[in-house]
């Protein structure tokens, strides 16, 4: 059966390189406070509220766009890794895909629920930032871990 909601298998290796490189480029500035000046730009925005004086529904705002670029690329790369077809994408792989997706959703919201009742104030913002990516990350880890387990069980059978 054709799974027409999945990307071609060739997208996977591109997805990995985009995902890993943009994740490194995105995490590194968080610890070293590095923001290249040439990415400091006036950009179009909606719902502007800088907590000081600028409030507008639509307009321009000044921002260093490094983290936006990285976040967009991490999500696109992550989606490419997660939802590209496997070499043999059949109904059994589809069932593993579904199982991994359900467990990664449970895990993601389990951690978020814990964070909701344990983490407060500014620290909670970090939870929200990482939570943008964790469901994809957990799915990628669980799905590939299940595939490795499966491959090992078949190798045993031989």
């Amino acid at each position: 059966m054709q799974e027409n909601y999945l990307l071609p298998a060739s997208f996977k290796k591109w997805g990995w390189s985009i995902f890993v490189s943009s994740a490194i480029l995105g995490i590194f500035p968080l610890f070293y406070n590095w923001e290249p000046a040439f990415l400091e730009l006036d950009v179009p925005a909606i719902f502007i509220d800088d907590l000081i004086e600028n409030k507008a529904i639509i307009g321009m705002t000044n921002n260093n766009i490094l983290n936006e670029i990285c976040a967009v690329l991490v999500i696109i790369g992550g989606l490419m890794v997660a939802f590209s077809k496997e070499k043999y994408e059949d109904e059994f792989i589809a069932s593993i895909r579904l199982k991994s997706l359900v467990w990664s959703t449970y895990l993601n919201y389990g951690i978020l629920l814990l964070a909701l009742i344990l983490v407060y104030d500014f620290s909670f913002m970090w939870v929200l930032i990482f939570n943008m990516f964790t469901i994809l990350l957990f799915f990628i880890i669980l799905f590939h871990w299940n595939l490795v387990k499966l491959k090992k069980s078949v190798d045993y059978a031989e």
Partner: protein, 68 residues
């Protein structure tokens, strides 16, 4: 659910990989079905019955726990 895929495969003298190619699935899928870890779709069941020249009912049998 029980199945006799392994027996039928032996009768036809096919390896898991050869059966996988004929049934248009991966070898992992054949292995998982033989071990009873995966219940195939109707389409795949019909494909297997065609390969083994046997009926789906002979290839797959319900167990008591399936009726609960």
């Amino acid at each position: 659910m029980r199945n006799s895929i392994k027996v039928e495969r032996a009768k036809k003298n096919l390896t898991q990989a050869q059966l996988a190619d004929l049934a248009l699935v991966s070898r992992q899928t054949i292995n998982a079905m033989e071990l009873g870890k995966y219940v195939p779709s109707t389409v795949l069941s019909l494909r297997l019955s065609k390969i083994f020249e046997t009926s789906v009912n002979e290839l797959f049998q319900l167990e008591e726990e399936d009726s609960k």
